[in-house]
């Protein structure tokens, strides 16, 4: 576009952050597609739009975003589990990173659910790449993905009977005294 033209545009805001504008546009699209109130905790840490939703809606939302012709989030960058033991009823979470390669927009979607009922719908029917990512999340956090074709451990041994990335398993044996350091708090 020619610079004079863009300067003459009446609604051109002065020094508006392009990432903010883009995120506002994506957020408007998200709410128009999936309705008000679907997304909570809307943030933009370091310019990456982050929304939180529920596990009941997650499959519809990601399927809708993948198929939407305007934005086309057809690349699932990564997903990972997370554990916040102090958040009662929302101890476990899954974090999805989507990327629209046509428009170069990234989006982060989070869901939280209780550790006693860690069941989440699978995304393997949408993205082939979700297969091993979900197996990894199951392996590390014990998240059960309903509909996954082959939900077994991937990196750890099959006969492991706990989920090692949960915060209840400290990295070092908590009963050891020779490693405590009263001054530096390790």
């Amino acid at each position: 576009m020619n610079p004079q033209e863009s300067a003459a545009a009446p609604e051109a805001p002065v020094a508006e952050d392009p990432i903010k504008v883009q995120n506002a546009r994506v957020l408007a699209l998200l709410t128009s597609l999936f309705g008000e109130g679907t997304f909570t905790d809307i943030e933009e840490p370091y310019g990456l739009l982050t929304v939180t939703t529920t596990r009941e809606r997650i499959h519809d939302i990601i399927a809708g975003l993948q198929q939407d012709q305007e934005i086309r989030f057809h690349f699932l960058t990564t997903m990972c589990g997370i554990n916040y033991p102090e958040n009662e009823g929302k101890e476990l979470g899954m974090i999805y990173h989507l990327h629209s390669l046509t428009q170069n927009i990234r989006l982060r979607i989070k869901i939280y659910f209780p550790i006693t009922d860690p069941v989440v719908p699978t995304l393997t029917d949408l993205y082939a790449t979700a297969n091993w990512m979900e197996r990894e999340a199951y392996d590390f956090y014990g998240v059960i993905f309903t509909g996954h074709p082959n939900l077994i451990r991937i990196l750890n041994v099959e006969d492991m009977d706990y989920f090692p990335m949960r915060r209840e398993y400290p990295l070092e044996d908590g009963t050891r005294e020779d490693k405590t350091d009263l001054f530096f708090g390790r």
Partner: protein, 420 residues
Amino acid sequence: MAVNDTLEGTHKIHEEAVAQRHGQLMPLLNDFSQELTTLNLGPTHPATHGIFQNILQMDGERIVSGVPTIGYIHRAFEKIAERRPFYQITPLTDRMNYCSSPINNMGWHMTVEKLLGVTVPKRAQYMRVIMMELARIADHLICNSILGVDTGAFTGFLYVFQEREKIYEIYEEVCGSRLTTNMGRVGGMERDFSPVALQKLRDWLKTFPAVMKEFESMFNRNRIFMDRVVNVGPISAEKALNYGFTGPNLRAAGVDYDVRAMNPYSSYEDFEFDIPVGTNGDTYDRFIVRNEEIWQSLRIIKQALENLPEGPYHADAPHYYLPAKQEVYKNMEALIYHFKIIMGEIDAPVGEVYHSVEGGNGELGFYLISDGGRTPYRLHFRRPCFIYYQAYPEMAVGTTLSDAIVILSSMNVIAGELDA
């Protein structure tokens, strides 16, 4: 009693898991009714160049199905990282894709800098670009020359390995180590390029293109080589995207996604380079794309070296960047900062960052959640190998065993990155 109970429970879980797995893998054992043979390719096999297993079902020479098993060198980096100060996580990243450690190191440093809000001076950014592109060349050289070895062409491997050795000598001059480099620091580089390092780099830039040309002339139009790799293991662009391919493997399928161009970091926007793409994503395309990327990396290195700005080689961030050792002996503030950084006493701000760099194999992402402590609350690595290796069975089915080896080799699966 309690111990026995636990053991019994473990055995039960194990038996269930095995039964479940056998159900999915059936027929796992040699099934003579269909005259299928089960072949264990790996975990330690000279042709897989890494420790991972593939259980293949063979109908004569053809592969009917394949089940990959990974995790043989899983070291729980994500768990370990939750108890380490940021600077101690750099050595972990070395050991992911150990063929191009500097890219991993600098990707991690940039992630932390993004979290801390530290701006790195231009000179350090250009120095990083030079080291990252050297690492990319080393990575691609290994992949392509090993592909030659797997097709029976040993000579090319020996030619370019000498050049890789020279790259490692440059690393050695820059940071002191060769394979697991632990290069740079949060905030910049730990020292400036020495005159020897610059001289080695300039010499190498003069000699390498001739060797690379020789390597290409040995392979690119070689009838025997082309017969082995053209139309072997093709993957379409849609499928590659669906499988989360990135890097040269995705570009070979015809998608021009390169993190360096799409989300420039470390001043990549200053340099002019092309993104080579293939057409049908077969082994030959992957080979050619990697070769072409080596030339583009050379272009970037030359531009960065020519325009290397003067100035400091690290950010002015005393809370995070170690002071010079001489200062520590003489200066009280430097001593305090040194002590606090080494002891991991410096808290990071609360926040979450996703930063990705173009690694040797594709988009290498770091997702860091900080709760304000000295260590990450959660650190997730997006390892390109782990994500695209799951497409391997689909690409290998229907080919012969020798083709399957070539496909595996051309995908450049690095066990360290696969398992993290």
